[in-house]
């Protein structure tokens, strides 16, 4: 376990270094930030002094080292638009995004689990067919369209739920539903097929042959093993949800990192864009690291590879 932990941690650190390279490259390629800062009346010397002060006259590798050194200390530069540290702006909005993504994640498991399991146990039944139809449609709906349709039906026509902002549970309902639909659909399919897979194993036949009740076979023997692939999916799912949050937050005016990032994109506030992408990726890498550790606890075979 110890060796696996170390190996996995080293890999996570390497990935983080890679992430920092890519995010640095994005900002580097976005052009000279002094273009935005410099006024019309600046002299050449003034511009050059600014560039020197900002370290932009140095080779890219030196600039990268400076960037990485600062990032390690939590300094991701300053937003051009807000004139405040990007990290602070993101930290302020992080709880909103995490709230949205976690609720969506929770929904995607809570709703998919019973449907997936029942579909597998009663194959071909009405619930199986209904579940699979939902899974197909849910995976084909673009999240921004689903969001707009939810606003149209529950906000505009029925007037039941608020369609923008954050605050009460009612505010959270539509964005969480929009964000989680794809995941619910996918998880339903994964749980169903994983369950079918497990139910075909010999130890299930043995359990049945021993005369154990079907309830015990399903819940104690099958479900535990069927959950293994689901745990991996959940790690990946969270990345998908963080990505989807960008669009959902934009549609529902949810004050999270996603909306902050899109607004920064429109304002050409590249340091803030870079910081949002990088921090999101770091959260994702850390989370996958944790999921992998969990996974190795659930399934000892993983550690041996």
């Amino acid at each position: 376990m110890g060796a696996y932990l170390v190996r996995r941690a080293v890999r996570a650190v390497l990935v983080i270094i890679g992430v920092s390279f890519i995010s640095f490259a994005v900002l580097f390629l976005s052009g000279d930030p002094t273009d935005i800062l410099v006024g019309e009346d600046w002299t050449r010397e003034e511009v050059q002094r600014l560039r020197r002060d900002m370290g932009l006259d140095r080779p890219w590798i030196v600039q990268y080292a400076r960037y990485a050194g600062r990032a390690v200390r939590g300094d991701f530069g300053e937003s051009l638009r807000y004139r405040r540290p990007a990290f602070d702006l993101i930290a302020e909005r992080l709880p909103a995004t995490l709230e949205l993504a976690l609720v969506a994640l929770l929904l995607s498991v809570i709703l998919a689990l019973p449907v997936g399991v029942l579909s597998a146990i009663h194959r071909g039944s009405l619930i199986d067919q209904g579940g699979m139809l939902f899974a197909l449609v849910g995976q084909a709906m673009p999240v921004f369209w689903l969001g707009l349709m939810l606003i149209l039906i529950f906000g505009v026509d029925l007037g039941w739920l608020p369609v923008s902002g954050r605050g009460t549970l009612a505010h959270l309902t539509l964005p969480a539903l929009a964000l989680s639909t794809y995941s619910i659909a996918r998880n339903t399919r994964v749980i169903r097929s994983s369950m079918l897979d497990v139910l075909g194993n010999e130890y299930i036949t043995t359990a049945r042959a021993k005369g154990l009740s079907e309830w015990i076979v399903v819940h104690l023997h099958a479900l535990r093993n069927a959950m293994i692939p689901v745990v991996t999916i959940i790690g990946l799912e969270f990345g998908h949800l963080l990505g989807g949050a960008v669009i959902v937050e934009t549609i529902f005016a949810w004050p999270g990192i996603g909306r902050l990032m899109i607004q920064a994109v429109y304002a050409k506030d590249f340091p803030l864009v870079q910081a949002s992408v990088t921090i999101t990726a770091l959260i994702f890498v850390t989370l996958n690291f944790i999921v992998d550790l969990l996974y190795s606890v659930l399934d000892p075979r993983v550690r041996l590879n």
Binding site: V15, V19, V26, V137, V246, I251, S276, A281
Partner: protein, 306 residues
Amino acid sequence: MPMVRQEAPALPDEESASLGPERVGLGQSLRRYKTALVGLVFLSALLLTALGAPLIAPHDPHKVSVADRLRPAAGMRGGSRANLLGTDSLGRDILSRLIYGARVSILVGLASVVISGMVGITLGLLAGFFGGKLDDLIMGLAEVQLAFPFILLAITVMAVLGPGLFNVIAVLGVSRWVAYGRVVRGQVLTVREKEFVEAARALGYPVYRVLLFQILPNITSPLIVIATFAVAGNIISESSLSFLGLGVPTSTVTWGSMLSEGREYLRVAWWLATFPGLAIMLTVLSINLIGDWLRDFFDPRLRDLA
């Protein structure tokens, strides 16, 4: 209990032919898979419509007609047969815009997948052939890329590059190579150790040719399946980017930008946002149905599972 059928995957050699009557052809399998047939029919119709857009579209998609603005679909109060699906805020015909929008979706979906396929196959072959440092580098790059939620990376790069049809294709193409790369690399590693490769090498055949001809036929089916689902995924990604104003410039009609315009009029004209979304959904659904069918056809072990 799942019925796991013991049919061999579609290997292009005599081994599979000897399995005899158990094996079904592509056409026969399609007849059993009614849903995929429906998807295929819808997609073919869409493709023909997109190709023949100038002939089929009832109106010029850019023609502004202020007198007809925000007209609802035919059959609704205030609707007219002249504009079957209604008009937008500038009086442009929605059906015609949907037809022209299909061109962009199909073009981006297919072109980006061709690019990711080429990039992925090349990188996968290189990683598998040479192994060592190059392998570490390529697979490391894959892992780093997967550390970014895909749409975030796409948004960031599009923000730097600026909107453009070519940019969208390039960004979607380049950032989605990993799945192909991994399949190809895995196959190279499997085949590389086989005795016939040793034998071929001993006989003086260039190893890369042996590998290439042994590897690519073996992985066509997983690659086709990955590519099919990727077309659907990239159509959604393109429309997401265009919806955010970071995809194809608004001078070209796209489903995503139609939706984005429709968003402004959600309260007064629901059809503006509804129809383009339905078009995206039906297209993606059709492709996914075909993908499901192909996956099950190529790998019968998965037939009853996924």
